[in-house]
């Protein structure tokens, strides 16, 4: 399958490095602005919940973190697939740079969910379908990271990781569906309040702002990680040597 020429232009490590260098400040500023806006709105404009009082405000980090955990996995699997099929180095880099960020968001989703669960359900953990699926997602991320870490050659590590991530992608709906089946059959836990919220607009806005803010955070972070990796992998090329020489810090 031939790709349009423009993809090849952006897929060269050097172009990627230069372009991402220009984009990162924008992403960082965007992240900070939406973060502040979202937090302000979430704490000072959105009213306390009728049933949960103030504890529901955890939602403004918990839900975006959970969304990111899934979004990043899809990006990881997709860029891994692109790297595997079309052998594009920068796609490989995007996949491996995304993994730790995705794992961090998954971890945060689990912990903030647990901290929200204690006041809401009275317990830190419950084998709710969503928590369980999210926990397994964390295992998938850690497996990916561990696999890549144990393979010396970066090209092979990228390819192996891509295969694993793709197998994981196929499994995510399966796992989610099975766990849902399993937990509805063992129903004993109270139904998650998030299930059918007709969410108030004053709560929806900060939620969306935080979601956007986290996406911008991810973009900034993944590009920074990828750039560092590019410097290492392309260390024998002249353009990297120039950058290292000229770097004053």
């Amino acid at each position: 399958m031939k790709l349009p020429a423009i993809v090849h232009k952006f897929s060269s490590p050097k172009n990627f490095y230069t372009m991402s260098g220009k984009l990162i400040p924008w992403f960082v500023w965007g992240f900070l602005l939406t973060l502040i806006a979202g937090l302000y709105y979430g704490f000072f404009v959105a009213p306390p919940d009728y049933q949960q009082g103030e504890s529901y405000r955890i939602m403004f980090v918990h839900v975006p973190a959970a969304w990111m955990s899934m979004f990043i996995y899809m990006v990881m699997a997709t860029s891994g697939a692109i790297g595997l099929i079309w052998r594009i180095k920068t796609a490989d880099l995007m996949a491996s740079a995304s993994a730790p960020i995705g794992a961090a968001f998954t971890f945060l989703a689990l912990v903030t969910g647990s901290l929200w669960g204690k006041p809401m359900w009275g317990t830190y953990w419950v084998w709710d379908a969503r928590l369980t699926s999210e926990l397994i997602l964390l295992f998938l991320y850690l497996g990916f990271i561990a696999l890549q870490a144990s393979i010396e050659d970066p090209r092979n590590a990228a390819r192996a990781g891509a295969v694993l991530a793709l197998v994981g992608v196929v499994n995510i709906p399966i796992i989610h569906y099975s766990v849902e089946w399993w937990s509805t059959l063992h129903q004993g836990a109270t139904v998650t309040k998030l299930d059918k919220p007709s969410i108030h607009i004053t709560m929806l806005i900060p939620l969306l702002l935080m979601a956007v803010s986290f996406k911008l955070y991810y973009l900034a972070s993944v590009l920074m990680r990828a750039r560092g990796e590019i410097l290492l992998r392309e260390q024998n090329s002249r353009w990297v040597k120039e950058i290292v020489e000229n770097d004053s810090k």
């Binding site: 595997l84 397994i136 295992f139 998938l140 850690l142 497996g143 561990a146 696999l147 144990s150 393979i151 092979n156 390819r159 192996a160 295969v163 694993l164 793709l166 197998v167 994981g168 196929v170 499994n171 399966i174 796992i175 569906y177 099975s178 766990v179 089946w181 399993w182 059959l185």
Partner: protein, 226 residues
């Protein structure tokens, strides 16, 4: 005249079975593990019938998962180490087909004995005959899935030094749906409920694995063998 892929397929199964027969002592290890692990549960919890019966489907299935995972070592390792695997991959036949042949012969000597041991373990855990019947049915559908998905993990970790631990981390999360539906089916059958849904799901997973796992495994082997 090159042999057809079909005859290569059969030849590979025969070869693997013959090799397994020659090393039949090694085959016993995962099976003994299976039995011992199940035995540990009454010893570690209580010998009380009610408790064991409730735990039985899950415990036997978890033990089967672990035993299946341990048995994966015999899938590609030997051929990888003496270079046969590389030769196989150079053959004109589709790698995925050859991989499927290896997985089938692997299942015949690891998964099938697990199914045959199930009644004994059901007995240990006070599982009534209805439950044992369902257990064997789920194992029949499930153990091939374990071999197929496990093969992907094995292929990915083939060249690595301490691949064994990593293999568990990679493969066990993928085994979870099989565990859930199988254990649940046995539970349901004990309660007199329908198990068709669970069995259909397992069947679907099996078909999906047979179709995709050999391809993923072949790709992973290409990466590891280089």
């Amino acid at each position: 005249m090159t042999p057809t892929t079909g005859s290569a397929f059969i030849a590979l199964i025969r070869r693997d079975l013959m090799l397994s027969y020659r090393h039949r002592n090694e085959l016993l290890n995962p099976l003994l593990f299976f039995v011992i692990v199940v035995t540990l549960f009454p010893l570690g919890t209580s010998p009380e019938k009610q408790l064991l019966q409730t735990m039985a489907p899950g415990v036997i299935w978890v033990a089967a998962l672990l035993a299946a995972m341990l048995s994966l070592d015999s899938l590609f390792k030997a051929d990888y180490e003496d270079g046969t695997l590389e030769q196989m991959m150079l053959s004109p036949h589709s790698n995925a087909v050859l991989v499927l042949a290896k997985i089938i012969s692997h299942w015949l000597v690891t998964g099938l004995p697990i199914i045959l041991l199930a009644p004994l373990l059901g007995l240990f855990m006070y599982l009534p005959s209805q439950g044992i019947y369902t257990l064997m049915l789920t194992l029949l559908l499930g153990t091939p899935i374990l071999s197929l998905v496990g093969a992907i993990g094995m292929a990915l970790t083939l060249g690595l030094n301490r691949g064994g631990m990593l293999l568990s981390l990679l493969v066990l999360p993928l085994y979870i749906p099989v565990l859930i539906f199988s254990a649940n089916a046995v539970d349901a059958s004990l309660a007199g409920l329908e198990i068709k849904g669970q069995l259909y799901f397992l069947g679907a997973l099996l078909v999906l694995s047979i179709t995709l796992a050999p391809l993923a495994t072949a790709t992973a082997l290409k990466i590891s063998v280089e």
